[in-house]
């Protein structure tokens, strides 16, 4: 039986042309782009919410919006950015588009499940945003929804929030199962696991985390909804419940969630750097082991989010050590990327600029992360703007920079046209400067006494908060050249040709954009996806 031959499903039943992007398409490439565009729309919404937060914080007083609205905005901002932008795009969009190419398949293992996983996202997102308008009040207890606060804020908004996150969690689990099955079972005959491009390993590791930890979040949120709707007492101290147990369960998912957002980005960077440096990926085997080490360690560090929650001393000690050791496999990856660049022929285009900025940002966020892992250090800065700065360096400076790098790298594959490099560099400059202006000062603010999730603050913190808000404004402006670039290029950009980067990974060994079956004829067997510099004697074929 042939698994997943899209032509069987698509045939005449599916719309063709641009309409297929609005259909229940089973083509992994269509689904990937659906994830990407849908995620980007939510990025703009989440960004507008961030703009509202930074506007409120431009002055020390709570004077821009009502206080409970502010809490709704920060809750929606976190939830939208994590569950509707970063997780779906870095996993769903690039994973769906690239993984079948990388394993030499014509589609994902379960195309229908794949389409279902995507189509859960728009309703979940609309549900979440609309809770602000329909339910009277959106959730106000942060994306962490700690009880008892989440039990005392307006119930309708909190329940809608739970429903929405459950749908998104379900979508994530469906995706994870699909990736594991595709990578392990749909490989082209002759292709060994240790010959797969690094992004496959990143997605395998990520999907293991998704499948192991997301159900725990789902269970926790269902219990929380019982507490809200049926007045049970799982997490309600007035009924003998335990609020700290919720935090353990929540972070058992939500710390691995950081790796669910970051590991795929590591994988994507590992694809982009060798192509534009014209060098093999350095230390393939250690890279694979590092990913798996991060997956394992990522599951046993959750309580470092709870060092001030009344956790016993031995537990604080264990989680300090476990967390610190994540720096070792992560460090290996960064040194290997630097070694990949060393001795290369580096083209400093937009994809490369964003990738290298990712290295700078993530190293910074990683170093503050090791500091935060130390209990005595964390006790002072936990729940302050230091933490806000730290995690934005990880998820924005890390993952979102990689999403942009990937967009510049794979846009020719998606559309057959090149993005404009001048607009790309402008986008990069604005994003990089804006990002650092926005989040670097927050570390100082946290160290000196500004807690997170506040609508008002001590007037001595005004200057740096205004610097941060100006940075946020630059980040907002930076999306303008990006949008112009994507729209204008799609209409009349430079034609890319099939393989504009002269890359060796399998997605480039077909037309751009690729046919429905990915390849005309048999899938190529690519055993050395990073074999740059090995055939120097042969003349290079370069397309203008």
């Amino acid at each position: 039986m042939t698994l997943a031959n899209p032509s069987d499903f698509n045939g005449n039943l599916q719309p063709q042309g641009w309409l297929r992007y609005f259909s229940f398409s089973l083509d992994h490439k269509v689904i990937g782009l659906q994830y990407l565009v849908c995620g980007f729309i939510f990025y703009l919404i989440g960004g507008a919410l961030a703009g509202a937060i930074r506007t409120e914080l431009a002055t020390p007083l709570s004077d821009f919006m009502p206080r409970d609205t502010y809490n709704e905005v920060l809750t929606l901002h976190g939830t939208v950015m994590i569950f509707l932008w970063i997780v779906p795009v870095v996993n769903g969009a690039f994973g769906n588009y690239l993984i079948p190419f990388y394993v030499g398949a014509r589609d994902m293992a379960f195309p229908r499940l794949n389409a279902v996983a995507f189509w859960l996202i728009p309703p979940a997102g609309i549900l979440l945003i609309s809770s602000y308008f329909i339910a009277g009040a959106a959730a106000q207890s942060g994306w962490t929804a700690y009880p008892p606060l989440s039990l005392t804020t307006p119930a309708a908004g909190q329940v809608v929030w739970i429903l929405s996150v459950l749908l998104l969690g379900g979508s994530s689990i469906f995706g994870g199962i699909n990736f594991i099955a595709t990578i392990l079972k749909l490989r082209r005959p002759g292709l060994k696991l240790m010959q797969l491009p690094m992004y496959c390993w990143a997605m395998l590791g990520t999907s293991i985390l998704v499948v192991l930890s997301t159900p725990v979040l789902a269970g926790t949120l269902i219990l929380l909804s019982f507490d809200i709707i049926a007045h049970t007492g799982f997490f309600n101290p007035a009924l003998g419940g335990n609020v700290v147990v919720y935090q353990h369960l929540f972070w058992f998912y939500s710390h691995p969630a950081v790796y669910i957002m970051v590991l795929p980005a590591f994988g994507l960077v590992s694809e982009i750097l060798p192509v534009h440096a014209r060098k093999p990926l350095f230390g393939y085997t250690t890279m694979v082991y590092s990913i798996m080490a991060i997956v394992f360690l990522g599951l046993i560090v959750w309580a470092h989010h709870m060092f001030t929650s009344g956790t016993p001393p031995w537990m604080r000690l264990f989680f300090t050590i476990a967390t610190s050791f994540i720096a070792v496999p992560t460090g290996i990856k960064f040194f290997n990327w630097l070694a990949t660049l060393w001795g290369g022929k580096i083209a400093l285009n937009s994809a490369m600029l964003f990738s290298c900025a990712f290295i700078v940002n993530f190293v910074f966020g990683g170093i503050t992360g090791v500091a935060l892992a130390q209990v005595p250090f964390d006790i002072h800065v936990h729940d302050t703007y230091f933490v806000v700065g730290h995690f934005h360096y990880i998820v924005y400076g890390g993952t979102v920079f990689v999403i942009f790098a990937s967009l510049y790298h794979w846009y020719p594959k998606f559309t057959g046209r090149m993005l404009n490099e001048d607009l790309g560099r402008l986008h990069f400059l604005l994003t990089f400067i804006g990002f650092n202006l926005c989040f670097a000062p927050q570390h100082w603010l946290g160290l000196n006494g500004m807690p997170r999730r506040v609508a008002e603050y001590d007037p001595t913190f005004t200057t740096l908060n205004q610097v941060s808000s100006v940075g946020a404004l630059l980040m907002a402006i930076s999306t303008i050249p990006l949008l112009i670039n994507v729209v204008v290029t799609a209409l009349n950009g430079k034609v890319a040709g099939d393989n504009p980067w002269n890359a060796l990974t399998p997605e480039w060994l077909t037309s751009s954009p690729p046919p429905v079956e990915n390849w005309i004829g048999e899938a190529p067997l690519v055993t050395e996806p990073y074999g740059y510099g090995q055939h120097q004697d042969q003349p290079q074929e370069v397309q203008a």
């Binding site: 206080r67 409970d68 106000q140 008892p148 606060l149 101290p237 003998g240 609020v243 440096a277 014209r278 060098k279 350095f282 230390g283 393939y284 085997t285 001030t308 009344g310 956790t311 001393p313 000690l317 300090t320 610190s324 720096a327 070792v328 460090g331 290996i332 040194f335 630097l338 070694a339 660049l341 060393w342 001795g343 290369g344 580096i346 400093l348 290298c356 910074f364 170093i367 503050t368 130390q374 209990v375 005595p376 250090f377 006790i379 729940d383 302050t384 160290l447 000196n448 006494g449 807690p451 997170r452 999730r453 506040v454 609508a455 603050y457 990073y530 510099g533 090995q534 120097q536 290079q540």
Partner: protein, 289 residues
Amino acid sequence: MCIVPIRTVLTVITATTALVLTGLWVGYNVNMLPLDASSNAPTYDALFKVLFSIGMVLFLGIVILLVYSLFRFRRRSGDLSDGLAIEGNLPLEIVWTAIPAIVVLFVGIYSYDIYERMGGMVALNDHSAMAHTAMDHSAMDHSGMASGEVSQARVWGGIGGAGMDAAPTGAVLPVEVTAMQFAFIFHYPDANITSGELHVPTGQPVELHMEARDVIHAFWVPQFRLKQDVIPGQPTVLSFTATKAGSYPIVCAELCGPYHGGMRSTVVVHEPEAYATWLQQNSPASTTT
């Protein structure tokens, strides 16, 4: 394999030395922290300086290496050839696995030492072992309802005092802290004073027994470098010794509702004599006479 030329070795050694010195200089000379007003704060600041220096060395080192590579190995126009086909180097990879492992191990052991000096490893339930049985009774009587009796019994977490167990009885100043939306209330059981501000003397260990009435709050004094969640149903403890007289902010650090940002108070640290005066002026006994 070729032998590394002497000049390269010298360059690497010089660059590394310069980098380490720069990192140390920045770490020990750029002050990022507020005033240190508790006995625990200088210990914290020492850890901070070490972490800041190590972080600076690593960050600068990686960024310089990256920028240097981007410049030195940039593609010249018209050059369409590939770079060197280097797929790995085991000794190098072992070195850069070992370096982070050693750094992390050092940082871990050092911060454990700091944590112990802060009193973080003091067994919290030792000094309330006697009351522990009382809790079991009250738990049965009140079917587990959070109440005042329970708060005297089991302490769920927090920071015990440095050398607090060695201090003679009566030397520790106990204060009961109740957190609610959106205020902290301080009760001095010995003097029977209730106050919206925390007043403490310099040099005397203070032990806060904290419990929240509604949602989770967090008690944070940036100048003390200490924070502890205040949790409904689970009493926590926080011990410190103030060292410098002055007024410092008490900040709620856990999202607790619309006015979370406004949930602030003040800790007033007095010299011992001034504290005695405050105690006398505010105790109910003196006001009635």
